[in-house]
């Protein structure tokens, strides 16, 4: 196939506009893509696609159409795959749905030799047939003594394995059919991996043909530059039209353009929604969204399908939309026919929002005031109030500290404190996120003076810096590419070691983060010296901090990862699930649940000047965020599109503090500033006391005396505790781990993965709640606080503290009966508090 046809395709794509199809689509009619092709060798082929359109709706008819060739000595067409039969020209006419269209085809070079390329045919076929996957011969030790490079990332390994190893039994050029790589997958011999080849099909023909031609495994210095998918982008299936044929074209670095539809590898992200066969024919199966990933060698692209089905009884209910978030979420829900849940109650709202923004439960007083307020804008005001609190800065610093692995072991000698203070301060003053990241990634100097330099102290090796930086800011798990190309993404070993080169000259020496003049990153198999990621070629690498160029690349407005990853992280914190999920696994084969939403949020983030607080604020103000957890039969099946609030466990720190709040064992955060002021005042009084006794001339002595004074020491200690909120777990960037918090999933901070924080329930948690000492100790102490209250007030206070609501009549009656009929009131109160903290309404956020 000559380049002209591909050029033609790409021109068409750019002129396509709204439909996104790689072909011309008249308003009414049948179109064929590409309309003209030149086959230039015996084995050349093109997968054609035929589309039928009625007004704005289009659907694929490639397989349903009737294909007629004007000259059967020139070409043959089956399901749109056009192959050469002999030199010449021909017309192909296609009929479907009572319409007709035509394409012209010329075949040249039919009689010249057309040897099978090891690199561009044999190796892709081994991947396509599943031989080179991580669970078969692509695993590090191979299988059954036969090993291939994972998904063909290193053809040299494959060549050695196929030709040199195995006593020539794997590829037998004298008697090709005796080759093990044919006999085993054809099941002529027992094969643990089962049947992998079908006689007569393209993959089998390629393998056999390659061996018969002498198993030539020369490796030309040509690479795949890009692959092109037709149709690309996004598509919707509306029943009864449930199919789409795909075409894959590879562009090689020597200018060759080649249809590889028959040897590319296809995979569906949600095979229950849409499946794809070995020839790239997609079939929709059920309502939902699926990405079809297409791999050819180290290139991978994904086309996204939305499958719409009529849901019986579905009727879209218009509800008010506050901002673009609601508009985009509703658009998707409406398309896929899920209704939205109603808006949550005020009690649910204050509990949910306070937990999300500050980590703590609202105090019973705050909850009572909120639910009885008649202010029309009280939700908006509450969000604003919470976002301006110190608690917000501290709780969100804890989240950053998790993935930046803050601990006293990893950041010794006060580093953890300094770094944490810096994180809290950055959030408190709402530092633009791009500035924050640049300051972090380009930090240098003494680690006890330059707080962000401690980021590098916690991750001392180049590998860790590469992997953790990519995971946090690019949402990408590049660690796979350390030893082999990433199996689900286009990250290659070259990319990995290029990012490594950014950090190869950052060293820690005698308590200082310094840049050295040497240090390189080498590709482990090619030994090539890698140039640092993000640095333009024109820059002399010797006199520059490579991290600056990298940070500039990372934080520029059009970086594909930076803003999307951060808004997605914020979304995940507020919904318990990312738009891309997991949040640190961005790849085209793990598509966002709502790509328009993610893009719009990212755009908003950029245009707001990377304002993190603004993003939290607009999300919390959206109706989407404020939906109830109550699902209806018309949206209960949805767990990705945000039709209703996801019920999730409180985090370890939240739960610990929540029990503290219910048992009234925690200082009131609202008044902590007052406490702080009064402590400072008392200290000052103490000092002036000494001063007045000693006289002005002995000022330094009075300061010294204050330092040694018992009361002042106590006051200072108290001040430290109040200032650093030592009584709380959610208010400190590195709370200590104990049996309780470990059971509830507090991470060890060994990795930068948010998955280290375990959020799913376990039996150990149930045992901790029902029978654990830590929680019960608080319950016992709390019962002393509740004891003086009369029963009715007590029950109301308990419900307001735990759930931010009053008990209903049934609850009130049950609790009242329990308290009044108890022999011993104090232990009955203990039992009641114990019961409340064991309810799901308490343990879960909703």
């Amino acid at each position: 196939m000559k380049q002209i046809s591909a050029l033609c395709i790409s021109l068409l794509i750019s002129s396509m506009g709204t439909t996104g199809f790689g072909q011309t689509v008249p308003n009414n009619g049948l179109s064929i893509s590409p309309p003209h092709i030149e086959l230039t060798s015996k084995r050349d082929y093109v997968q054609m696609i035929v589309t039928s359109s009625y007004g704005k709706t289009v659907h694929d008819v490639t397989h349903q159409a009737k294909w007629t060739c004007s000259d059967q000595k020139v070409i043959r067409a089956v399901n749109g795959k056009v192959t050469a039969v002999g030199n010449g020209s021909a017309t192909i006419s296609v009929q479907a749905e009572g319409r007709t269209t035509k394409a012209t085809i010329s075949v040249t070079g039919f009689s010249k030799p057309d040897p099978i390329s090891f690199k561009f045919e044999t190796v892709p076929v081994l991947t396509k047939q599943g031989c080179a996957t991580g669970s078969c011969h692509g695993s590090p030790h191979g299988r059954g003594g036969f090993s291939l490079s994972l998904l063909g990332y290193d053809p040299t390994i494959d060549r050695n394995s196929l030709i040199l190893d195995g006593f020539n039994r794997r590829t037998n050029t004298i008697d090709p059919d005796e080759s093990l790589i044919l006999k085993k997958p054809l099941l002529a011999l027992p094969h643990v991996g089962g049947k992998r080849l079908l006689t007569g099909r393209t993959p089998c023909n390629i393998l056999r043909g390659w061996i018969a031609e002498g198993a030539n495994a020369s490796l030309p210095d040509v690479d795949v530059k890009d692959i092109e998918l037709s149709p690309g982008g996004e598509h919707t299936f509306h029943s009864p039209f449930v199919n789409q044929q795909l075409r894959v074209v590879a562009k090689l670095s020597d200018g060759t353009v080649k249809d590889v539809s028959s040897i590319a590898t296809y995979e569906s992200s949600h095979p229950n929604v849409a499946k794809v066969d070995a020839d790239g024919y997609v079939t929709a199966l059920s309502r939902g969204q699926a990405g079809i990933s297409v791999r050819f060698l180290d290139k991978l692209k994904t086309v996204h399908f939305t499958v719409v089905e009529e849901v019986p009884g579905f009727k879209w209910v218009e509800r008010p939309e506050v901002n673009f978030i609601d508009k985009l979420v509703n658009q998707k829900l409406k398309q896929l026919q899920f209704v939205t849940s109603t808006i949550c109650t005020d009690s649910e709202f204050i509990r949910r929002t306070t937990l999300d923004i500050t980590g703590s439960l609202p105090s019973p007083e705050a909850a009572q005031a909120f639910i009885s307020s008649r202010d029309k804008y009280k939700r908006r005001s509450l969000i604003e109030h919470l976002l301006n609190s110190e608690a917000y800065a501290r709780f969100w610093a804890l989240k950053l500290a998790d993935i930046m692995r803050v601990s006293q072991q990893k950041m010794p000698n006060g580093g953890a404190e300094r770094f944490s203070d810096w994180l809290v301060d950055s959030i408190r003053r709402n530092q633009p996120y791009d500035a924050f990241v640049r300051e972090l990634l380009t930090a240098k100097g003494k680690v006890n003076q330059v707080a962000p330099a401690n980021y590098f102290v916690a991750i001392p090796t180049v590998e860790e810096r590469t992997e953790i930086t990519s995971q946090i800011f690019m949402g990408t798990r590049v660690e796979c590419a350390k030893c082999h190309n990433h199996p689900f993404e286009t990250w290659t070993m070259r990319d990995y070691y290029s990012i490594g080169a950014v950090f190869a000259r950052t060293n820690i020496n005698q308590g200082s983060l310094i840049l050295t003049n040497e240090g390189e990153s080498y590709h482990p198999t090619t030994h090539e010296k890698m140039s640092p990621w993000g640095t333009p070629k024109s820059i002399n690498l010797d006199n520059t901090d490579r991290r600056i160029a990298f940070s500039n690349w990372l934080t520029q407005k059009d970086n594909p990862f930076f803003s999307r990853v951060e808004v997605n992280r914020i979304w995940n914190e507020l919904f318990g699930k990312g738009i891309v999920d997991p949040v640190d696994d961005f790849r085209s084969s793990n598509p966002p649940a709502n790509i328009e939403l993610l893009d719009a949020l990212a755009k908003e983030f950029v245009s707001s000047g990377y304002d993190r607080k603004h993003i939290v604020e607009i999300i919390c103000n959206s109706q989407t965020y404020q939906r109830s957890a109550q699902a209806s039969p018309l949206n209960t099946a949805d767990d990705t599109l945000f039709s209703h609030c996801k019920v999730r466990m409180l985090s370890a720190e939240q739960l610990k503090d929540a029990i503290g709040t219910v048992t009234h064992q925690l200082p009131n955060l609202e008044s902590s500033m007052e406490t702080e002021t009064s402590l400072i005042q008392k200290l000052e009084e103490r000092r002036s006391n000494f001063k007045s006794r000693l006289g002005e001339s002995q000022a330094s002595l009075s300061t010294l005396l204050t330092l040694a004074d018992h009361d002042s020491i106590q006051l200072n200690r108290k001040l430290f505790e109040v200032k650093n909120r030592m009584a709380f777990a959610t208010q400190r960037p590195y709370p200590e781990r104990n049996e309780f918090t470990i059971a509830f999933g507090q991470p060890k901070r060994d990795t930068a993965c948010t998955c280290e924080r375990q959020s799913a329930p376990t039996l150990v948690q149930a045992l901790e709640l029902l029978n654990g000492g830590a929680a019960y100790d608080l319950v016992l102490r709390g019962s002393v606080i509740y004891e003086p209250l009369d029963n009715s007030t007590l029950i109301d206070m308990l419900y307001m503290s735990a759930y931010s609501r009053h008990p209903n009549a049934a609850e009130q009656a049950t609790a009242m009966k329990f308290l009044t009929s108890a022999k011993e009131r104090k232990s009955a109160i203990t039992d009641l508090i114990w019961t409340i903290i064991n309810t799901r309404e308490f343990v879960f956020q909703h």
């Binding site: 999933g745 019961t835 799901r840 909703h846």
Partner: protein
């Protein structure tokens, strides 16, 4: 189908398979599709891990012809099986040799990996050399994940006694935290020993707990439709399971060592080791899937219920770098690495071990537990054939011995051999710790050709570099 664990279905169900219906991952078995695995002979596994590197020369693999200056002072003794000899430190175990297969050709193929105690122990726990691209979970966690449990009211994977020492050696790795080993902690020789958290806390009796449960079930109503949410559903099921564990008399019975007849307890030995071995038998008998014993006698402990102190024995594992044949502690001048132990022949060492191990095999055999329980006696490595100048023996990874019994392991068998000094393997076969791992999986009928997927979708094969030891099948 591969056993995939993704974050969304990442429920920790290590302590039971009650929720398999909900999650669909806990108890999946591997019967479908073409597979080479046979039905396992073992239903449960008991691993006795004697940590520190037991000298094979002084125990399972006597070397009477070694040069005198390096020879063990303990004579070979005949066992119940003609032609098999142990040293006299195993003279009680010698009487149950007909139940045992002794593998004398164990080796670490790359000694750099497992030649330290932390790494060596992790090697034993996971059956896989530490330091690979993915840190492997313990064999026991994988077994719990793959097979669930038969006794819902007990954890499926228990370590006796379990201390902070194993924090890094024993790992749950990429599996959900619920599959982590359950440690009883404590000193089982203590007459007041109780497993924390497995009984109701002090002051809360069954009646009070029942009152609370009743109140909870009438008040846990605030969120309707919660049942549709997976996490809430799972938590409810765990709550019920936990309530059962806390109040089920069988739970307490399984751990109630004091309830055993005194003759039985004494037969195992009234120290910490003996009681741990006995507890292991009790738990296996109660249906626990995987029990590991990793015990050493504490310096301040109890014997026959009375306090006793082994002066100088601050760390009584098998790491006998110094004064291995001391009749008390091993703290010698210019010593160090081997300080804090007791000589190999003393009560806290082989004295208690020989008694406990022989009792265990005899007892399990009498109770029919050896029919379907695989018992493994393991250690990280052996000790040098040469005695060093501090009269100790150092680490030796070239050759060492394991012992196996039950679940179809042939009795009265010695597998492999070493040279005159016990330094190198002379038999045609040699087996590794990976082979030991593979043996456990295959005895249990776990199909090793089916990978477990990590949360990042990397397929993990079990004991991928090992092969089951054929002589044990």
């Amino acid at each position: 189908m591969a056993h995939s664990i993704n974050r969304r279905s990442f429920l920790g169900i290590g302590l039971g398979s009650a929720l398999s219906a909900i999650t669909g991952v806990a108890n999946a078995t591997t019967s479908s599709s073409a597979t080479t695995a046979k039905a396992g002979r073992a239903k449960r596994v008991l691993v006795i891990f004697e940590q520190g590197g037991v000298s094979h020369l002084d125990t399972w693999d006597p070397k009477p012809d070694a040069p005198l200056e390096h020879r063990s002072p303990f004579k070979p003794v005949r066992t119940k099986v003609d032609g098999i000899q142990f040293t006299e430190l195993l003279s009680k175990t010698a009487k149950v040799a007909d139940k045992l297969s002794i593998v004398r050709c164990m080796t670490q193929p790359t000694p750099g990996i497992g030649n330290s105690h932390p790494k060596g122990s992790q090697y034993i726990y996971s059956g896989e050399a530490p330091g690979g691209p993915v840190e492997m979970p313990d064999i026991s966690s994988i077994v719990a994940h793959r097979m669930g449990t038969e006794a819902l009211y007990l954890p499926s994977n228990i370590l006796l006694p379990g201390t902070d020492e194993q924090a890094a050696m024993s790992q749950v790795g990429f599996l959900p935290p619920g599959y982590a080993v359950f440690k009883t902690g404590g000193n089982l020789a203590d007459p007041n020993f109780k497993v924390p958290n497995l009984g109701l806390m002090a002051g809360i009796d069954d009646r009070r707990f029942q009152t609370r449960k009743d109140l909870l079930s009438s008040l846990d109503i605030g969120l309707v439709n919660l049942g549709r949410h997976k996490d809430a559903e799972a938590m409810t099921a765990f709550m019920h399971q936990a309530e059962d564990m806390l109040t089920n008399p069988n739970t307490r019975k399984a751990f109630d060592i004091q309830a055993e007849p005194m003759t039985v307890r004494e037969r195992y030995g009234m120290g910490h080791r003996g009681q741990c071995y006995l507890m292991a038998r009790k738990l296996i008998e109660s249906g626990v899937r995987f029990v590991t014993v990793d015990v050493r006698e504490p310096m301040n402990t109890f014997r026959d219920g009375k306090p006793v102190t082994f002066g100088g024995g601050g760390n009584m594992n098998w790491d006998h770098h110094d004064a291995i044949y001391s009749t008390s502690h091993t703290n010698v001048p210019n010593g160090g690495a081997g300080a804090g132990r007791f000589g190999i022949a003393t009560w806290p060492m082989m004295g208690s071990l020989d008694l406990a191990f022989s009792a265990l095999i005899e007892d399990m055999s009498q109770r029919g537990l050896l029919d379907d329980t695989l018992v493994c006696f393991v250690t990280e490595f052996g000790r040098t054939p040469k005695i060093n100048d501090r009269q100790g023996r150092d680490h030796w990874t070239n050759a060492f011995s394991f012992a196996f019994a039950g679940a179809g392991v042939p009795g009265g068998q010695v597998v492999g051999s070493t040279d005159r000094d016990g330094g190198f393997i002379t038999s045609s076969m040699a087996y590794t710790i990976e082979d030991y791992g593979a043996t456990i999986y295959e005895k249990l009928g776990i199909d090793r050709s089916k990978p477990i997927m990590t949360p990042t979708n990397r397929p993990i094969y079990l004991a991928s570099k090992g092969r089951a030891i054929p002589e044990l099948f």
